[in-house]
């Protein structure tokens, strides 16, 4: 018998925290993810705020933009992973940030989604990280 690995919740109930300084990006991301059945539990605009919201909402997954003011996505990733090693953090990046991606992997990033968003690829990536594909 084959067993499919499952996350704590199904996609329809998976709670997502979106961390991105761009309102446009957050809005597009929210539209795609809610359309696919995810729940956006909170939004944050930098790494510090992202960490605070993680502590408050304990989401199933975080989408973390890399280029942000105050504390960038790498800083936010480190803070969350240090305090919550079991957390799932998917980095969001405009193309071309190769060095940042390598650094993110070294700091425990679970995957990447490129900007501008491809909705199918985005949903598939999040499902895979949540163990639902």
């Amino acid at each position: 018998m084959a067993f499919v690995r499952c996350s704590r919740k199904g996609v329809g109930m998976a709670n997502i925290l979106v961390v991105d300084d761009s309102r446009t990006s957050r809005k597009i991301l929210r539209g795609i993810l809610e359309g696919a059945g995810f729940t956006i539990v909170a939004e944050a605009t930098n790494g510090v705020e992202g960490y605070d919201k993680y502590v408050e909402f304990q989401p199933d997954l975080v989408t973390m933009d890399i280029t942000m003011p105050v504390l960038d996505g790498l800083g936010g990733l480190k803070k969350i992973k240090e305090a919550f090693p079991e957390s799932k953090v998917v980095m969001v990046t405009a193309a071309g940030q190769k060095n940042k991606m390598v650094e993110a992997v070294q700091n425990g990033a679970d995957d990447f989604i490129p900007k501008p968003f491809d909705s199918e690829q985005l949903v598939a990536t999040l499902k895979r990280v949540l163990g639902e594909s």
Partner: protein, 304 residues
């Protein structure tokens, strides 16, 4: 593309009204099927394959045909056939002008000659405009010898991204060196690494809002934090593609967070700074690029 340039010239000469110029652009846009659409209509690709290539194009700054052949969806011969099917934009423009009795063929030839002479286009420049190939057209407007190659590359990439993300009706004017720039709003982003580049996008209100609305997938009617944020994000994605291309040549550039500016925005520098006017129909976007770190910006406010 030829219609954008020649049509505008005819409008400025009073040969076409503004409405006739806009109608010309609309007809040319309708007649110009995208390569992916043509490939699907002709059974050469599936919808899914065309969508996949279109999406990859947004992430890789490469031509549709190049990606499709690399993925094995199309052969070089099929790409050639599709390009021929896509139609000759120059001939289409002539056809629209004569079909509507705007001009006779003889008059068109006369105006093309004066267009070439007055705009100081060489025979090669004119051929580039007739080709409709953006990669050939951009150099016509960035050929000033003093423009550093990295800035020329950036101008070409931004032109491709305006076409890709905002409007296919792009019409460029010659890049001009400037020492200062001011406007009442602007979106900027800095890139740094082996060299530093500051990129700003501004323009008239209608053009700026069109860019914000199309990229942000939302109708904006005012210049405010939301519309500025959308243009910031457009620049961020474009610069990501630029950084990606540069990294293929082992040049690493880091993107700084985009910044929105309002109020009396002033940008000045002693170093190389260029303004590239980019028209969408009659609306003017302004791309400003500074190289190296000698620029000064006033009235900046961080995004968020």
């Amino acid at each position: 593309m030829f219609g954008n340039y020649f049509g505008k010239y005819l409008q400025e000469k009073g040969v076409l009204t503004e409405k006739q110029y806009e109608d010309l652009l609309d007809e040319l846009t309708e007649a110009r099927l995208r390569l992916g659409t043509l490939a699907v209509l002709n059974g050469m690709m599936t919808n899914e394959q065309a969508d996949e290539v279109n999406q990859l194009q947004k992430l890789q700054d490469r031509r549709f045909g190049d990606i499709a052949t690399e993925k094995g969806y199309l052969t070089d011969e099929q790409v050639g056939a599709l390009l021929r099917m896509q139609g000759d934009q120059y001939l289409l423009c002539i056809q629209v002008l004569t079909d509507h009795d705007y001009l006779s063929l003889g008059e068109i030839q006369k105006y093309i000659n004066s267009f070439k002479r007055e705009e100081r286009f060489s025979a090669l420049d004119l051929e580039a405009l007739k080709s409709g190939d953006l990669d050939k057209i951009v150099p016509v407007f960035t050929k000033e010898a003093s423009i550093p190659p990295v800035m020329k590359d950036y101008m070409a990439l931004m032109a491709r991204n305006v076409v890709r993300f905002i409007s296919g009706d792009l019409r460029l004017k010659a890049a001009q060196r400037i020492n200062d720039y001011s406007n009442s709003y602007m979106a900027t982003q800095e890139m740094s690494g082996e060299f530093k580049l500051l990129v700003g996008l501004s323009g008239d209100k209608d053009a700026f809002l069109q860019a914000a609305s199309t990229f942000g997938q939302e109708e904006f009617t005012e210049i405010n934090e939301d519309s500025l944020d959308s243009v910031c994000e457009f620049i961020n994605c474009s610069n990501g593609l630029y950084a990606s291309k540069m990294s293929e040549d082992d040049v690493e550039l880091e993107l700084m967070p985009p910044v929105m500016h309002t109020g009396e925005v002033k940008l000045w520098t002693d170093g190389p700074m260029y303004l590239v006017p980019m028209y969408i129909g009659n609306r003017r976007l302004e791309l400003v690029i500074c190289l190296e770190s000698k620029w000064h910006l006033s009235d900046a406010a961080e995004r968020v």
